[in-house]
Assembly symmetry: C2
Homo-oligomer: 169 residues x 2
DNA sequence: ACAAGATAGTCTGTGAAGCAGAACATCTAG
DNA sequence: CTAGATGTTCTGCTTCACAGACTATCTTGT
Protein backbone atom coordinates (compact mmCIF):
# COMPACT_ATOMS: atom_id res chain seq x y z
CA UNK A 1 0.00 0.00 0.00
CA UNK A 2 2.75 2.45 0.85
CA UNK A 3 3.50 4.61 -2.16
CA UNK A 4 6.73 2.95 -3.20
CA UNK A 5 7.55 3.46 -6.84
CA UNK A 6 6.94 -0.11 -7.86
CA UNK A 7 5.28 -1.93 -10.69
CA UNK A 8 2.26 -3.40 -8.98
CA UNK A 9 2.88 -6.97 -10.03
CA UNK A 10 1.92 -10.01 -7.97
CA UNK A 11 -0.43 -8.98 -5.19
CA UNK A 12 -2.13 -12.30 -4.36
CA UNK A 13 -2.52 -13.36 -7.94
CA UNK A 14 -2.56 -17.12 -8.41
CA UNK A 15 0.09 -17.09 -11.04
CA UNK A 16 2.44 -15.47 -8.55
CA UNK A 17 2.00 -18.40 -6.20
CA UNK A 18 4.93 -20.76 -6.10
CA UNK A 19 2.70 -23.61 -5.08
CA UNK A 20 0.45 -23.05 -8.03
CA UNK A 21 3.32 -22.96 -10.51
CA UNK A 22 4.95 -26.00 -8.96
CA UNK A 23 1.75 -27.96 -9.07
CA UNK A 24 1.01 -27.01 -12.59
CA UNK A 25 4.46 -27.83 -13.91
CA UNK A 26 4.63 -31.05 -11.94
CA UNK A 27 1.26 -32.10 -13.28
CA UNK A 28 2.28 -31.29 -16.82
CA UNK A 29 5.50 -33.21 -16.40
CA UNK A 30 3.66 -36.16 -14.94
CA UNK A 31 1.33 -36.12 -17.88
CA UNK A 32 4.03 -36.22 -20.54
CA UNK A 33 6.00 -38.75 -18.52
CA UNK A 34 3.00 -41.03 -18.33
CA UNK A 35 2.81 -41.17 -22.09
CA UNK A 36 6.44 -42.15 -22.42
CA UNK A 37 6.25 -44.55 -19.51
CA UNK A 38 2.87 -46.03 -20.25
CA UNK A 39 4.19 -49.54 -20.72
CA UNK A 40 6.37 -49.53 -17.63
CA UNK A 41 5.04 -51.14 -14.44
CA UNK A 42 4.46 -48.42 -11.90
CA UNK A 43 4.56 -45.68 -14.49
CA UNK A 44 6.66 -42.62 -13.61
CA UNK A 45 7.43 -44.00 -10.21
CA UNK A 46 8.54 -47.27 -11.67
CA UNK A 47 11.03 -45.29 -13.69
CA UNK A 48 12.27 -43.47 -10.64
CA UNK A 49 12.76 -46.74 -8.83
CA UNK A 50 14.85 -48.00 -11.73
CA UNK A 51 16.87 -44.81 -11.77
CA UNK A 52 17.37 -44.87 -8.02
CA UNK A 53 18.40 -48.51 -8.01
CA UNK A 54 20.73 -47.92 -10.92
CA UNK A 55 22.94 -45.32 -9.33
CA UNK A 56 23.84 -47.81 -6.66
CA UNK A 57 24.40 -45.52 -3.74
CA UNK A 58 20.93 -46.16 -2.44
CA UNK A 59 19.79 -49.67 -3.08
CA UNK A 60 17.73 -51.08 -0.26
CA UNK A 61 13.97 -50.77 -0.52
CA UNK A 62 13.67 -48.36 2.35
CA UNK A 63 16.44 -46.12 1.07
CA UNK A 64 14.79 -45.92 -2.31
CA UNK A 65 11.40 -45.34 -0.74
CA UNK A 66 12.74 -42.43 1.26
CA UNK A 67 14.50 -40.92 -1.68
CA UNK A 68 11.35 -41.07 -3.78
CA UNK A 69 9.06 -40.03 -0.96
CA UNK A 70 6.82 -43.07 -1.14
CA UNK A 71 5.60 -45.22 1.69
CA UNK A 72 7.58 -48.38 2.35
CA UNK A 73 4.48 -50.51 1.95
CA UNK A 74 4.07 -49.09 -1.53
CA UNK A 75 7.57 -50.11 -2.47
CA UNK A 76 6.60 -53.72 -1.91
CA UNK A 77 4.05 -53.92 -4.69
CA UNK A 78 5.94 -51.48 -6.89
CA UNK A 79 8.90 -53.82 -6.80
CA UNK A 80 6.66 -56.85 -7.19
CA UNK A 81 5.60 -55.47 -10.54
CA UNK A 82 9.06 -54.46 -11.66
CA UNK A 83 10.46 -57.80 -10.63
CA UNK A 84 7.62 -59.55 -12.38
CA UNK A 85 8.54 -57.68 -15.54
CA UNK A 86 12.11 -58.88 -15.17
CA UNK A 87 13.58 -55.42 -14.77
CA UNK A 88 14.94 -55.68 -11.24
CA UNK A 89 15.96 -58.35 -8.77
CA UNK A 90 15.66 -58.44 -5.01
CA UNK A 91 18.93 -59.74 -3.66
CA UNK A 92 19.61 -60.39 -0.01
CA UNK A 93 21.88 -57.73 1.41
CA UNK A 94 25.03 -59.53 2.55
CA UNK A 95 25.55 -56.97 5.29
CA UNK A 96 22.02 -57.04 6.67
CA UNK A 97 19.83 -60.03 6.12
CA UNK A 98 16.67 -58.07 6.84
CA UNK A 99 17.25 -55.82 3.88
CA UNK A 100 16.96 -56.43 0.16
CA UNK A 101 19.29 -54.89 -2.34
CA UNK A 102 17.50 -53.83 -5.50
CA UNK A 103 19.60 -54.38 -8.58
CA UNK A 104 18.69 -53.89 -12.20
CA UNK A 105 18.77 -56.82 -14.57
CA UNK A 106 20.37 -56.41 -17.96
CA UNK A 107 16.90 -55.88 -19.38
CA UNK A 108 16.26 -53.30 -16.70
CA UNK A 109 19.37 -51.32 -17.55
CA UNK A 110 18.55 -51.41 -21.20
CA UNK A 111 14.98 -50.33 -20.59
CA UNK A 112 16.09 -47.53 -18.31
CA UNK A 113 18.53 -46.27 -20.87
CA UNK A 114 15.91 -46.20 -23.56
CA UNK A 115 13.31 -44.54 -21.38
CA UNK A 116 15.85 -42.02 -20.22
CA UNK A 117 16.47 -40.85 -23.72
CA UNK A 118 12.82 -40.60 -24.64
CA UNK A 119 12.02 -38.88 -21.42
CA UNK A 120 14.63 -36.27 -22.09
CA UNK A 121 13.09 -35.47 -25.43
CA UNK A 122 9.64 -35.16 -23.93
CA UNK A 123 10.96 -32.92 -21.19
CA UNK A 124 12.68 -30.60 -23.58
CA UNK A 125 9.36 -30.18 -25.31
CA UNK A 126 7.77 -29.40 -21.97
CA UNK A 127 10.45 -26.82 -21.28
CA UNK A 128 10.04 -25.27 -24.70
CA UNK A 129 8.82 -21.92 -23.37
CA UNK A 130 12.24 -21.43 -21.80
CA UNK A 131 15.48 -20.62 -23.53
CA UNK A 132 17.96 -23.52 -23.62
CA UNK A 133 20.17 -21.91 -21.00
CA UNK A 134 17.16 -21.27 -18.80
CA UNK A 135 16.14 -24.90 -19.02
CA UNK A 136 19.47 -25.97 -17.65
CA UNK A 137 19.25 -23.33 -14.96
CA UNK A 138 15.85 -24.61 -13.92
CA UNK A 139 17.03 -28.18 -13.83
CA UNK A 140 20.00 -27.23 -11.74
CA UNK A 141 18.04 -25.10 -9.30
CA UNK A 142 15.43 -27.78 -8.79
CA UNK A 143 18.08 -30.42 -8.39
CA UNK A 144 19.84 -28.41 -5.72
CA UNK A 145 16.58 -27.72 -3.93
CA UNK A 146 15.60 -31.37 -4.04
CA UNK A 147 18.92 -32.52 -2.67
CA UNK A 148 18.90 -29.70 -0.17
CA UNK A 149 22.36 -28.67 -1.27
CA UNK A 150 23.45 -25.08 -1.00
CA UNK A 151 25.27 -23.46 -3.86
CA UNK A 152 28.79 -24.77 -4.17
CA UNK A 153 30.65 -21.84 -5.56
CA UNK A 154 29.34 -20.40 -8.79
CA UNK A 155 25.79 -19.20 -9.38
CA UNK A 156 23.37 -21.63 -10.94
CA UNK A 157 22.94 -19.54 -14.04
CA UNK A 158 26.54 -20.26 -14.90
CA UNK A 159 26.79 -23.72 -13.42
CA UNK A 160 23.92 -25.03 -15.45
CA UNK A 161 25.56 -24.30 -18.74
CA UNK A 162 28.61 -26.29 -17.82
CA UNK A 163 26.58 -29.39 -17.20
CA UNK A 164 24.98 -29.34 -20.62
CA UNK A 165 27.00 -31.70 -22.78
CA UNK A 166 26.45 -35.19 -21.48
CA UNK A 167 25.57 -38.20 -23.48
CA UNK A 168 23.70 -40.48 -21.16
CA UNK A 169 24.09 -44.19 -21.70
CA UNK B 1 28.38 -46.75 -25.73
CA UNK B 2 30.42 -45.20 -28.52
CA UNK B 3 33.71 -43.78 -27.31
CA UNK B 4 32.79 -40.12 -27.42
CA UNK B 5 35.05 -37.88 -25.38
CA UNK B 6 32.53 -36.83 -22.79
CA UNK B 7 32.48 -36.17 -19.07
CA UNK B 8 30.43 -39.03 -17.77
CA UNK B 9 28.19 -36.98 -15.50
CA UNK B 10 24.52 -37.81 -14.98
CA UNK B 11 24.03 -41.18 -16.54
CA UNK B 12 20.57 -42.16 -15.29
CA UNK B 13 21.07 -40.96 -11.75
CA UNK B 14 17.83 -40.19 -9.98
CA UNK B 15 18.94 -36.81 -8.84
CA UNK B 16 19.46 -35.83 -12.44
CA UNK B 17 15.83 -36.58 -13.19
CA UNK B 18 13.65 -33.55 -13.58
CA UNK B 19 10.59 -35.49 -12.54
CA UNK B 20 12.24 -36.58 -9.35
CA UNK B 21 13.34 -33.08 -8.42
CA UNK B 22 9.96 -31.63 -9.28
CA UNK B 23 8.14 -34.22 -7.23
CA UNK B 24 10.42 -33.78 -4.29
CA UNK B 25 10.21 -30.01 -4.25
CA UNK B 26 6.48 -30.03 -4.81
CA UNK B 27 6.02 -32.47 -1.97
CA UNK B 28 8.18 -30.39 0.31
CA UNK B 29 6.27 -27.27 -0.61
CA UNK B 30 2.98 -28.99 -0.05
CA UNK B 31 4.16 -30.10 3.33
CA UNK B 32 5.15 -26.65 4.54
CA UNK B 33 2.04 -25.15 2.98
CA UNK B 34 -0.15 -27.59 4.83
CA UNK B 35 1.22 -26.38 8.13
CA UNK B 36 0.49 -22.77 7.33
CA UNK B 37 -2.89 -23.58 5.80
CA UNK B 38 -3.98 -26.17 8.32
CA UNK B 39 -7.00 -24.21 9.46
CA UNK B 40 -8.20 -23.33 5.98
CA UNK B 41 -10.95 -25.43 4.41
CA UNK B 42 -9.49 -27.32 1.51
CA UNK B 43 -5.93 -26.79 2.66
CA UNK B 44 -3.46 -25.67 0.00
CA UNK B 45 -6.07 -25.95 -2.69
CA UNK B 46 -8.47 -23.87 -0.72
CA UNK B 47 -5.83 -21.18 -0.72
CA UNK B 48 -5.36 -21.45 -4.45
CA UNK B 49 -9.08 -21.10 -4.99
CA UNK B 50 -9.06 -17.93 -2.91
CA UNK B 51 -6.09 -16.59 -4.83
CA UNK B 52 -7.64 -17.46 -8.17
CA UNK B 53 -10.96 -15.91 -7.28
CA UNK B 54 -9.25 -12.82 -5.95
CA UNK B 55 -7.45 -11.80 -9.11
CA UNK B 56 -10.79 -11.49 -10.83
CA UNK B 57 -9.84 -12.43 -14.35
CA UNK B 58 -10.98 -15.98 -13.82
CA UNK B 59 -13.96 -16.17 -11.55
CA UNK B 60 -16.41 -18.87 -12.60
CA UNK B 61 -16.05 -22.25 -11.01
CA UNK B 62 -15.01 -23.97 -14.17
CA UNK B 63 -12.43 -21.37 -15.02
CA UNK B 64 -10.89 -21.69 -11.58
CA UNK B 65 -11.03 -25.46 -11.78
CA UNK B 66 -9.14 -25.44 -15.05
CA UNK B 67 -6.56 -23.00 -13.80
CA UNK B 68 -5.89 -25.13 -10.75
CA UNK B 69 -6.07 -28.41 -12.58
CA UNK B 70 -8.83 -29.90 -10.45
CA UNK B 71 -11.95 -31.68 -11.58
CA UNK B 72 -15.10 -29.59 -11.73
CA UNK B 73 -16.90 -31.95 -9.38
CA UNK B 74 -14.21 -31.29 -6.81
CA UNK B 75 -14.76 -27.55 -7.07
CA UNK B 76 -18.29 -28.05 -5.83
CA UNK B 77 -17.41 -29.35 -2.41
CA UNK B 78 -14.26 -27.24 -2.20
CA UNK B 79 -16.43 -24.16 -2.59
CA UNK B 80 -19.08 -25.58 -0.28
CA UNK B 81 -16.49 -25.59 2.47
CA UNK B 82 -15.06 -22.17 1.67
CA UNK B 83 -18.52 -20.70 1.45
CA UNK B 84 -19.47 -22.39 4.70
CA UNK B 85 -16.49 -20.72 6.32
CA UNK B 86 -17.70 -17.37 5.03
CA UNK B 87 -14.68 -16.76 2.86
CA UNK B 88 -16.30 -16.73 -0.58
CA UNK B 89 -19.71 -16.23 -2.10
CA UNK B 90 -21.29 -17.83 -5.13
CA UNK B 91 -23.01 -15.10 -7.10
CA UNK B 92 -25.05 -15.66 -10.23
CA UNK B 93 -23.15 -14.55 -13.30
CA UNK B 94 -25.22 -11.77 -14.89
CA UNK B 95 -23.94 -12.71 -18.31
CA UNK B 96 -24.61 -16.46 -18.03
CA UNK B 97 -27.16 -17.79 -15.62
CA UNK B 98 -25.66 -21.26 -15.66
CA UNK B 99 -22.40 -20.01 -14.21
CA UNK B 100 -21.50 -18.84 -10.72
CA UNK B 101 -19.07 -16.04 -10.09
CA UNK B 102 -16.87 -16.74 -7.11
CA UNK B 103 -16.11 -13.61 -5.14
CA UNK B 104 -14.24 -13.24 -1.90
CA UNK B 105 -15.98 -11.82 1.12
CA UNK B 106 -14.24 -9.19 3.20
CA UNK B 107 -13.22 -11.95 5.59
CA UNK B 108 -11.94 -13.94 2.63
CA UNK B 109 -9.74 -11.11 1.40
CA UNK B 110 -8.36 -10.55 4.86
CA UNK B 111 -7.67 -14.23 5.35
CA UNK B 112 -6.01 -14.51 1.97
CA UNK B 113 -3.81 -11.53 2.70
CA UNK B 114 -2.69 -12.98 5.99
CA UNK B 115 -2.06 -16.44 4.57
CA UNK B 116 -0.18 -14.95 1.68
CA UNK B 117 2.29 -13.31 3.97
CA UNK B 118 2.84 -16.35 6.11
CA UNK B 119 3.13 -18.55 3.07
CA UNK B 120 5.84 -16.35 1.67
CA UNK B 121 7.87 -16.69 4.81
CA UNK B 122 7.51 -20.45 4.80
CA UNK B 123 8.49 -20.58 1.15
CA UNK B 124 11.60 -18.53 1.66
CA UNK B 125 12.63 -21.03 4.26
CA UNK B 126 12.00 -23.81 1.80
CA UNK B 127 14.14 -22.04 -0.77
CA UNK B 128 16.91 -21.44 1.73
CA UNK B 129 19.45 -23.60 -0.11
CA UNK B 130 19.31 -21.12 -2.97
CA UNK B 131 20.77 -17.65 -3.11
CA UNK B 132 18.17 -14.86 -2.96
CA UNK B 133 18.63 -14.03 -6.61
CA UNK B 134 18.32 -17.69 -7.53
CA UNK B 135 15.07 -17.95 -5.63
CA UNK B 136 13.58 -15.20 -7.73
CA UNK B 137 14.92 -16.81 -10.86
CA UNK B 138 13.33 -20.10 -9.93
CA UNK B 139 10.00 -18.46 -9.17
CA UNK B 140 10.08 -16.64 -12.46
CA UNK B 141 11.05 -19.67 -14.53
CA UNK B 142 8.36 -21.80 -12.95
CA UNK B 143 5.80 -19.07 -13.38
CA UNK B 144 6.60 -18.75 -17.04
CA UNK B 145 6.49 -22.50 -17.53
CA UNK B 146 3.18 -22.75 -15.73
CA UNK B 147 1.62 -20.01 -17.79
CA UNK B 148 3.21 -21.39 -20.91
CA UNK B 149 4.63 -18.00 -21.72
CA UNK B 150 7.83 -17.67 -23.68
CA UNK B 151 10.48 -15.25 -22.56
CA UNK B 152 9.45 -11.67 -23.25
CA UNK B 153 12.74 -9.99 -23.88
CA UNK B 154 15.34 -10.30 -21.14
CA UNK B 155 16.64 -13.54 -19.68
CA UNK B 156 14.98 -14.78 -16.52
CA UNK B 157 18.14 -14.43 -14.49
CA UNK B 158 17.85 -10.69 -14.93
CA UNK B 159 14.09 -10.40 -15.05
CA UNK B 160 13.63 -12.09 -11.71
CA UNK B 161 15.60 -9.51 -9.82
CA UNK B 162 13.45 -6.73 -11.11
CA UNK B 163 10.32 -8.28 -9.71
CA UNK B 164 11.68 -8.56 -6.21
CA UNK B 165 10.36 -5.54 -4.33
CA UNK B 166 6.62 -5.86 -4.09
CA UNK B 167 4.58 -5.36 -0.98
CA UNK B 168 1.61 -7.66 -1.28
CA UNK B 169 -1.59 -6.50 0.40
C1' DA C 1 -39.28 -19.57 -33.18
C1' DC C 2 -37.77 -24.17 -32.30
C1' DA C 3 -35.08 -28.13 -32.10
C1' DA C 4 -30.44 -30.04 -31.23
C1' DG C 5 -26.28 -29.88 -29.26
C1' DA C 6 -22.93 -27.76 -26.11
C1' DT C 7 -21.77 -26.01 -21.52
C1' DA C 8 -22.04 -24.84 -16.12
C1' DG C 9 -22.95 -26.77 -11.99
C1' DT C 10 -24.45 -30.61 -8.84
C1' DC C 11 -25.06 -35.27 -7.15
C1' DT C 12 -24.23 -40.35 -6.75
C1' DG C 13 -21.61 -44.44 -7.05
C1' DT C 14 -17.42 -46.77 -7.63
C1' DG C 15 -12.66 -47.85 -7.88
C1' DA C 16 -8.09 -47.10 -6.77
C1' DA C 17 -4.48 -45.59 -4.01
C1' DG C 18 -2.10 -45.09 0.03
C1' DC C 19 -1.67 -45.13 5.04
C1' DA C 20 -2.01 -47.24 9.79
C1' DG C 21 -1.08 -51.20 12.26
C1' DA C 22 0.25 -55.78 13.09
C1' DA C 23 3.37 -59.65 12.12
C1' DC C 24 7.82 -61.66 11.28
C1' DA C 25 12.77 -61.66 10.73
C1' DT C 26 16.94 -59.70 11.91
C1' DC C 27 20.11 -56.34 13.79
C1' DT C 28 22.18 -53.58 17.81
C1' DA C 29 22.94 -52.29 22.59
C1' DG C 30 23.21 -53.04 27.18
C1' DC D 1 20.77 -62.96 26.33
C1' DT D 2 17.20 -59.77 26.63
C1' DA D 3 15.00 -55.44 24.95
C1' DG D 4 14.26 -52.43 21.68
C1' DA D 5 15.03 -50.75 16.96
C1' DT D 6 14.83 -51.60 11.95
C1' DG D 7 13.60 -53.83 7.15
C1' DT D 8 9.94 -56.07 4.73
C1' DT D 9 5.42 -57.83 3.97
C1' DC D 10 0.44 -58.26 4.58
C1' DT D 11 -4.34 -56.84 5.94
C1' DG D 12 -7.95 -53.55 6.53
C1' DC D 13 -9.70 -49.21 6.20
C1' DT D 14 -10.43 -44.53 4.80
C1' DT D 15 -10.18 -41.14 1.68
C1' DC D 16 -10.35 -39.11 -2.57
C1' DA D 17 -11.07 -38.07 -7.09
C1' DC D 18 -13.05 -39.52 -11.36
C1' DA D 19 -16.92 -41.24 -14.47
C1' DG D 20 -21.61 -40.76 -15.45
C1' DA D 21 -26.16 -39.13 -15.06
C1' DC D 22 -29.17 -35.04 -14.36
C1' DT D 23 -30.91 -30.14 -14.52
C1' DA D 24 -30.65 -25.62 -16.11
C1' DT D 25 -29.16 -22.58 -19.43
C1' DC D 26 -26.76 -20.98 -23.57
C1' DT D 27 -25.88 -21.34 -28.69
C1' DT D 28 -26.46 -22.59 -33.36
C1' DG D 29 -28.85 -23.88 -37.42
C1' DT D 30 -33.00 -24.01 -39.98
Amino acid sequence: MAGRLVVVTTPQRVDADLGWALGRVTRAHLHTAQEVLSGLPGGPRGYQVLAAANDGEVSTQLAIARMLGVDRTVMTYLLDELEGAGLVERRPDPADRRARRIVLTAAGRERLCDLDRRLREAEEQLLAPLLPAERDTLRELLRRLATGAAQDGASACQVAEEIAATDGC
